[in-house]
């Protein structure tokens, strides 16, 4: 932690004092497991009054979205202030008050592409956790070729009428609204006939069905649109230019992956797990563990390096594809190694949070959010500039 400027030092003191006064004790356990997360939304059931209070207090200061402009309910903090806030929260092990796709994805898209009225309508409600959003991009027939999506929207008077099917819509069954890509011009080239629509899910034309994975239960759903409707103004960016918004968000999403993976790796250390397993006499396992430690550390340093560059104003850009590729592949390798080290004991099913489920879950990491193959294509074309 480098030394703060005088103003920043004052800000830090203020933040610390406010947190101390306002963060309920129950919210100071640093919990990050799925069940402890506050997702918000119309139907969210708070686990405790403390959880509700913590959200309300943080939202009031805009600190659920610290860097969003204050006029839209955000904290209006600078990069440095944001860092201080996170550091001070970490110091007291404060839980993240709100976690949502609205904060992570729709918000940035609206800030970059939304109309003024859209920002004023949606951003404050995201900040306060009133509306839970989900993302409708993927389709069963599209996969890596995202832009070949077939869900279509037809204008009927003042409304888009939407028909089709989305897949991998995380938490769709618990969300209030969906931002989704819809084909609105079937004659145009495939990237030029897609619009980015905002749709309320509380209508009979939308049905959701959870997807079971090889690793067990998952937040993913299939989402079916049957004459679903949304007002014609609920387009982000221009009609038929939704691909630009999607591309922006995809890069945004990948850039976040590195940090996410680092968090994963921050659990119990590989060495600890392997020492306990007591199977390291096997040179295959030992050599594998050595290699995996080396590669994991190198990956972690690479995330740090790119984060530093980002702080210095150099965006990660297409290199986020590299982070996504390496992070997921190394993590698969790591879990394979742990499974081998634990031997038969790891092959008993200990539920959806057990080691076997974790191992199987990593298999999806190199597919979701863009497959490793797509990441390698991005690197070879955009960074290495190899010919198509």
């Amino acid at each position: 932690m480098s030394e703060d400027s005088a103003e920043l030092a004052q800000f830090r003191a203020d933040v610390a004092a406010w947190l101390d006064a306002n963060c309920p004790d129950e919210m100071r356990d640093g919990a990050t497991d799925h069940d402890s997360i506050c997702w918000g939304g119309r139907h969210f059931v708070f686990q405790s009054d403390a959880q509700r209070l913590w959200l309300e207090r943080m939202a009031q200061r805009g600190w659920t979205a610290p860097r969003w402009p204050a006029e839209y309910g955000g904290g209006g903090l600078t990069r440095e202030e944001d860092k201080v806030l996170r550091e001070e929260m970490a110091r007291i092990h404060a839980r993240v008050p709100l976690f949502s796709f609205g904060l992570m994805m729709l918000g940035p898209a609206l800030l970059a592409f939304g109309r003024e009225d859209q920002k004023r309508e949606h951003l404050p409600r995201i900040v306060r956790g009133e509306i839970r959003w989900c993302q409708g991009y993927s389709e069963p027939g599209a996969g890596s070729d995202l832009a070949s999506l077939q869900t279509r929207g037809v204008l009927d008077g003042d409304e888009w009428v939407i028909n089709g099917q989305k897949i991998w819509t995380s938490c769709a069954d618990q969300s209030d609204m969906i931002f989704c890509l819809v084909r609105t011009d079937r004659e145009a080239p495939k990237h030029r006939g897609i619009s980015f629509l905002l749709v309320d899910m509380d209508q009979p034309g939308i049905e959701t069905r959870p997807i079971k994975l090889i690793s067990g239960r998952s937040p993913f759903c299939e989402t079916f649109f049957t004459d679903a409707r949304t007002h014609k103004d609920n387009v982000v960016g221009e009609v038929n230019r939704g691909w630009d918004v999607a591309k922006y968000l995809l890069t945004h999403e990948r850039a976040g992956v590195g940090g996410f993976l680092q968090t994963l790796a921050a659990g119990r250390s590989l060495a600890e797990i392997l020492n306990d397993a007591g199977t390291l006499d096997d040179p295959v396992l030992r050599a594998g563990a050595m290699r995996c430690e080396v590669d994991s550390l190198a990956f972690s340093l690479t995330c740090d390096r790119y984060a530093d560059q980002a702080k210095a104003g150099h965006g990660t850009g297409d290199a986020s594809a590299m982070l996504k590729y390496l992070g997921t592949e190394i993590n698969k390798d790591r879990l394979e190694l742990i499974m081998s080290a634990l031997g038969s004991e790891a092959t008993d099913w200990e539920g959806d949070e057990g080691i076997a489920a974790n191992w199987l879950r990593t298999k999806a990491n190199s597919i979701e959010g863009g497959t490793s193959e797509i990441m390698l294509s991005i690197i070879s074309r955009r960074i290495l500039e190899l010919p198509q």
Binding site: G143, L213, D282, K363
Partner: protein, 367 residues
């Protein structure tokens, strides 16, 4: 040909959907399917003709196991018809003869209880069989016992002398599962099969329950486990071939960017590499079966080679199988997950890659 007959039967009677249904029903065994396998003579594949078996040998057993691996057919074939049958046959004597006859006729199934920890290590056996009056008293816990909850009888190895790590001092007992003091916890194996923890508490046994000689379990158990390793390797190779087959079919059918994904060179090369890898492993399977049939005393290298290769190949096959299927590959709706889970269990059972690769290296003279 044996292979074609087996494949025809299994495609028809035991597709992966049958395993799926079993899992969804919460069952861990498929006695009806086994009954049909018995009818076809598979239970007696290693039982002498005199005892009512088909006596077709280990290469034939490998072919059956390989075909079962293709469709993930559920059966006590490996435990009963391969490992137990080989041990009983080597032990010889009238009781063993009767047991072999019962195996071939489908009247008996066996579980083979060896492991006590997370890794395969028969010599590390700590479970005790203490002399008690004219007999023995067995106490200890066996883990990850294939077919341990369903099999009618249990071949269990326990220590009659020495300390864990000694290769001698182990004795093999043949016990009916209902004997007092035996309790099996069915477990929840990721491959949905029966892989139980069995607790033995002061279980009484007599000399008549011993298979082979006291203190010399490994002289019958080791060859039997080798036979099991070869058959398991064959099963995993069939599994790998099936995973590749499903993946190739998907690559021909699935379209992305206006082309079948099988036309993408990077994916083609991975499929071609996997095919090549499976071909190499298939060679080791043939070799292991032949060595067990012709020179079983010197089959260690061949068998460990097969199990090491089959383990590595299956891991590659299911990893590629899932990844090349993309999103659908990680859904439970696709069968690939079943292949991946079985490959992981198979990787550990009867010795993992490191165990067998070390055997190979040792046999080749690496110090």
């Amino acid at each position: 040909m044996l292979r074609e007959a087996a494949r025809g039967f299994l495609d028809d009677a035991a597709p992966v959907s049958r395993l799926r249904a079993m899992r969804d029903d919460g069952r861990t065994g498929d006695p009806d399917l086994w009954a049909r396998m018995v009818e076809m003579g598979w239970a007696g594949v290693l039982v002498p003709e005199a005892a009512g078996g088909a006596d077709m040998g280990h290469r034939a057993a490998g072919i059956l196991a390989e075909e079962m691996g293709r469709t993930l057919a559920v059966s006590p074939f490996l435990s009963t018809a391969v490992i137990a049958a080989t041990a009983l046959r080597l032990a010889g004597g009238p009781a063993a003869g009767e047991a072999l006859g019962a195996i071939a006729a489908g009247r008996r199934t066996y579980a083979v209880a060896v492991d006590e920890g997370r890794k395969f290590a028969p010599a590390a056996t700590g479970m005790t069989a203490e002399r008690s009056g004219n007999g023995y008293s067995l106490t200890g816990t066996k883990t990850f016992v294939a077919d341990g909850a369903n099999a009618a009888r249990i071949l269990v190895v326990a220590r009659t002398s020495g300390t864990p790590g000694d290769a001698v001092g182990l004795t093999l007992f043949d016990l009916e599962r209902g004997r007092a003091g035996i309790a099996a916890d069915p477990g929840r194996s990721i491959d949905s099969l029966d892989r139980a923890t069995i607790r033995f508490q002061d279980v009484e046994a007599t000399g008549a329950d011993i298979v082979g000689a006291q203190d010399e379990a490994l002289s019958v158990l080791s060859p039997a486990l080798r036979a099991g390793q070869a058959a398991l390797a064959a099963e995993m190779t069939g599994l790998s071939a099936a995973a590749l087959h499903l993946t190739i079919a998907f690559m021909k059918e699935r379209r992305q960017f206006d082309r079948p994904i099988g036309s993408f060179q990077a994916l083609q090369f991975r499929a071609a590499h996997l095919w090549s890898d499976i071909e190499m492993t298939a060679s080791t399977i043939v070799n292991a079966g032949r060595m067990l049939d012709t020179d079983p005393q010197r089959a260690t290298l061949a068998v460990s080679l097969a199990k090491a290769r089959a383990t590595a190949t299956a891991r590659l096959a299911v990893s590629e199988g899932v990844q090349l299927h993309g999103g659908v590959g990680v859904t439970d709706a696709l069968d690939m997950g079943f292949y991946m889970k079985r490959a992981r269990v198979g990787a550990e059972w009867l010795g993992d890659y490191g165990y067998h690769a070390a055997e190979v290296a040792r046999e080749r003279g690496l110090r």
